[in-house]
Amino acid sequence: MYQYNDIDQTLVDERVAQFRRQTEQFLKGEISEDQFRALRLRNGLYVQIHAPMLRVAGPYGLLNSKQLRKLAHIARHYDKNYCHFTTRQNIQFNWPKLDQVPDILEELATVQMHAIQTSGNCMRNTTSDHLAGVCVDEIEDPRPYCEIIRQWTTLHPEFDYLPRKFKIAVSGALHDRAATQFHDIGLHLVKNDADVVGFKVLVGGGLGRTPVIGQVIKPYLEKKHLLSYLEAVLRIYNLFGRRDNKYKARIKILVKETGMDQFSALVEREWQLIRDNNELSDERISAIQAQFVDPAYELDATADLSFAQQQQDHKAFATWVKHNTADHKTPGYRAAFVSLKAPDSPPGDITDTQLDAVADLADRYSFGEIRATHRQNLILADVKQADLYALWQQLDALKLATPNIGTVTDMICCPGLDFCSLANAGSIGIAKEINEALDDMDYIHDIGDLKINMSGCMNGCAHQSVGHIGILGVDKKGVEWYQLTLGGSSENNAAIGERLGPSVAKDQVTLTIVTILNVYVKLRLEDESFLDMVNRVGITPFKEQVYANH
């Protein structure tokens, strides 16, 4: 995992000092509300319904145990004993006090963390595959490139006041676990005909009000040109992106209105002029790669026999292994999910005591590292199979072992009307209700791979448009209603969900989900996943049942 050098640390420390000064000036009335808004957003600070909300960057989802303990400490001392993991691998605190935020940022800086550019119309935290470096289908580890991009995007003098926010995701595997087709720029590590790894570059994807699947702008880009190409795209966007209407200001609209051919010609012309000035050297790439070397895996990890035995002896453990662990490139190791989707807790939330405990487990079983996933869970990525049983027992005691990863109750959910000032409708309450209705784990496992994403408004923080089932809260004359979509996906087969029909009342949402699941169970072919079935039969059979009594 990347460790800060003096430059990194100085930059973060100076940023804290700058924001402390800005906050003091604002509180003294020396900076206007409008100006402070732009400055605080670039330090992750929103003003929400109840209190400010602070979004801390989880650089491409990677955290260490020391950082997790710091988050626990902040939750305890500055917040209400919990925090929230987001779909962009960041961490949110819902109850900080404005005048304490500089102190929180100073605490974060002591463990090489910050909240720089986690909101505002600037380049945001770069996200990546939560199984980067350990998965079995990897072309190359994307994390070094994420770190190079993290540095390049941080305090970029030319691109900090963009028309709108700008998000970059990087995937290094065959299976896209980073939703790269729904980012302003998506980067895939790919091999060319000569077997040399470079980047396939996608542009103009995005969710929110107008979901768009990104298009390939550069099928193959040599690694050395990564930063110059990003610079070219950003310069064209900064100069020509719309600034007259914030709903039309994302790069996806510029690409659409300009036309992909014309847009890509503009980028190409710009890039040709700068490509030789800002090359990424092999030395630089190697130096960053050296910070992401494999931990000291035990070579005889497969020799352990207890793992198979314990699965035989303990059905609950076997179930957890099946659903909450993933294959690892190193024989005898698995990646273990820490489910933040316990039935009675808001999706993505974790308490201070759980954070401390997970930090201890990471130290004991997974080389002290933790990852955040874009589906709002955590992962201990490098667990020896011999340790999984002990890990499971401890996670279970912490209520962090609900065996529901990838299932219908592993919902992505935004904070909704409970916290967010943008929201039209609640989402946490609906998630709880769906969880209560679907309390039979065998049924949930029989339903299998099904992703429900639920957002409390059309800004779409919970990516509802790419949920296999998407739920979108809408406001109708002061009443909360919910619009459902089916068939969305953020993975390789990227698709935007199709609207099921008229929105349903709040007290009908759970019933509607149950009806949809019943249709699936009835009509599925053997081993056919929900998404495959929707793609085969379309939405009509679901529509007929859901609206049968209307």
Partner: protein, 150 residues
């Protein structure tokens, strides 16, 4: 009226000429439109010439004229309008403009570090009393991650 130039607070010696005003003697600045309209007269006069660019103006239109221009003002309609950061970069990085680039209008004192990195070397302030603070913000950071102009 004072401004910041090259990290010092100095007197502004330039005269602002509105589009409907008569040209004056001495150092003057005019809009891009005025320059394009009255180029011969502007070139024939004594005194230095400055051009004011707005956020929607294209820097490329000035590329062939830069040898005649000693000042370019980047006039911020709003601090959130980041186009002027790219215009400054283009002037220095692409067209190798060596004269003064001055930020004017509604930028924030907190943006001068970035502005100076993309090649802006002079700053006029909405309030003159803000100049010392603005000057100090040029040094908000001692490190950076990217190549730019400075």
């Amino acid at each position: 009226m004072q401004i910041i130039k090259d990290q010092k607070i100095i007197d502004n010696t330039w005269n602002y000429i509105a589009d409907d005003a008569e040209l004056k003697a001495g150092d003057i600045s005019v809009s891009l439109a005025r320059w394009q309209q009255d180029k011969p007269q502007l070139l024939a006069r004594d005194g230095k010439l400055g051009i004011r660019l707005g956020a929607t103006d294209s820097v490329a239109e000035l590329a062939d004229d830069l040898a005649h221009i000693q000042l370019i003002e980047l006039d911020f309609p709003d601090f959130a309008d980041g186009r002027l950061f790219s215009q400054a970069w283009l002037l220095r990085g692409r067209y190798h403009y060596q004269g003064e680039i001055r930020a004017t209008g509604h930028y924030m004192p907190d943006q001068v570090f970035y502005l100076s990195r993309v090649g802006v070397n002079a700053f006029s302030a909405e309030k003159v009393e803000d100049l010392p603070v603005t000057l100090s913000h040029l040094h908000d950071f001692t490190v950076n991650y990217q190549n730019s102009i400075n």
